[in-house]
């Protein structure tokens, strides 16, 4: 086990694709803590989160071969986990109040990259904070958590069209404050 702990994530993922449960164990030890914490911030039912984390690693076990070696393994894992959460909540016919949150890159690259870069240094923080809670939740689910508008709608329990409208308004507001405001 010790000799494995130094191996990079993508190498471990390839080993998992070849059926190595030891490699999955190392990935589990490395990534399940932060995944759990981050998921708890999306869904306050810890029982559901524990199931989702378990689902995630089962999905990794079955689909490790689908990782194409692009980008961080952690980001890929989060993509799997947040979608597991969406489908688990949907099968229970529930949605959650999302407090606030986080990312992958969507379609409108300039605004999103601006937001992400801004988050790191803080200038987007104030702009994000000025969004209404509904719009923040949508920005979090799409821009930060990397969900499609359809998935975000399922997570938040609102129609897809509503997600699109709110996202559009939120982007416009952020663009005004970040791009035009700083020009």
């Amino acid at each position: 086990m010790e000799d494995r702990t130094g191996r990079p994530d993508d190498e471990l993922l390839r080993a998992v694709a070849d059926g190595d449960t030891g490699a999955l164990r190392v990935l589990y030890d490395r990534h399940s803590p932060w995944l759990t914490v981050r998921l708890v911030r999306r869904c306050n039912d810890r029982g559901v989160v524990a199931e989702v984390v378990q689902d995630t690693f089962v999905a990794v076990w079955q689909g490790a071969g689908r990782y194409r070696g692009e980008g961080e393994v952690a980001g890929w894992l989060w993509g799997v986990a947040i979608r597991r959460l969406v489908s688990r909540l949907r099968s229970r016919g529930r949605s959650v109040e999302v407090p606030f949150a986080d990312v992958t890159v969507g379609s409108d690259v300039s605004v999103e990259e601006r937001v992400l870069a801004g988050v790191e240094y803080g200038d987007a923080g104030a702009a994000l904070a000025r969004l209404s809670p509904e719009m923040r939740a949508v920005v979090q689910a799409t821009v930060l958590d990397g969900l499609s508008t359809r998935e975000a709608g399922r997570l938040l329990g609102v129609p897809r069209g509503t997600v699109k409208t709110r996202l559009h308004r939120a982007k416009a507001q952020l663009r005004r404050e970040l791009v035009e405001g700083s020009a």
């Binding site: 449960t21 490395r30 990534h31 932060w34 914490v37 708890v40 911030r41 949150a101 994000l128 904070a129």
Partner: protein, 278 residues
């Protein structure tokens, strides 16, 4: 909220990390931490050290979950066709969906074709004899204490017996009927024969299903089988195998089918048959 490490790379400060783990962090700190953790193995390790073991599912649970065998081909096919997980499970555990059963069916049909090719007259009689009995036998062994390995489990499960029987019957028909029809089309005889046997087969299946309210379905199927073989033998003896499809006979199969269905409907909400209680 952050500090510079000796290596010069940026890491989340211990305080921010702890407040994020505890769920006390404000939204901006959270967003920042969550973005950073995606890219920073060092901070992920820091999080792991802060998170209590109890919050994550135990590794043993994950291990147990990945060691569950994948559902079989038939199961996945049924799910794809829109059956629920439990229905698909029940339907796909039918003995007739096993490879051995399918191979046996194909073996029997191959024998029929060979006979037909080598001795034309006898081939038709043999086909008529066997064709309806394949699905009938399949239905008879698809459930019941004597042939279904999952019988005990299913009886104990909160799953309606009628639903089980219909699902199993469906899975039998899906697998055996096409094979028999194809065989009938291959035979050097009228294509009507390739499908005409479906009517007596439907009547017999209905009889077996209805009879299973009182007797073990395999016994019912045996009785029906003997009667059918006797009828076809008689038809072959009088040199007119197709007499079994004469209008009078066809009418009789329809009557059989209707009576059996009516009897089943009458029984459907009745008491549990005695053999199922053993």
């Amino acid at each position: 909220m952050s500090n510079e490490t000796a290596s010069g790379s940026w890491h989340v400060g211990a305080e921010s990390l702890r407040s994020w783990v505890d769920g006390d962090a404000g939204s901006l700190v959270s967003v920042s931490v969550e973005q950073h953790v995606l890219k920073c193995a060092h901070c992920r390790d820091q999080v792991a050290a802060l998170v209590p073991e109890s919050i994550r599912p135990p590794w043993d649970d994950v291990l147990a979950a990945i060691e569950v065998p994948r559902p079989g081909l038939a199961h996945r096919l049924f799910v794809r066709l829109g059956l629920s997980e439990s229905d698909a499970k029940v339907a796909s555990t039918a003995p007739t969906l096993r490879v051995a059963w399918l191979l046996a069916t194909m073996g029997v049909l191959l024998f029929v074709v060979l006979t037909a090719v080598l001795a034309q007259e006898g081939g038709l009689g043999l086909f008529l004899m066997i064709a309806p009995l394949i699905p009938v036998t399949g239905v008879a062994v698809a459930y019941g204490p004597s042939s279904d390995p999952s019988y005990e489990t299913v009886v104990a499960a909160p799953f309606a017996m009628v639903r089980l029987i219909l699902l199993r019957t469906l899975s039998v028909l899906v697998t055996s009927v096409p094979l028999v029809v194809i065989t009938g089309l291959v035979l050097p005889t009228s294509p009507i024969v390739a499908v005409a046997w479906l009517l007596p087969a439907a009547g017999f299946i209905a009889v077996v299903l209805t009879a299973s309210n009182w007797v073990d379905p395999t016994h019912a199927a045996a009785a029906v089988g003997v009667a059918w073989v006797a009828l076809v033998s008689w038809a072959v003896r009088i040199d007119d195998p197709l007499a079994v499809f004469a209008p009078v006979a066809m009418g009789a199969y329809v009557v059989l089918l209707v009576v059996a269905i009516l009897a089943q409907l009458y029984r459907l909400f009745g008491s549990t048959p005695s053999w199922r209680l053993h």
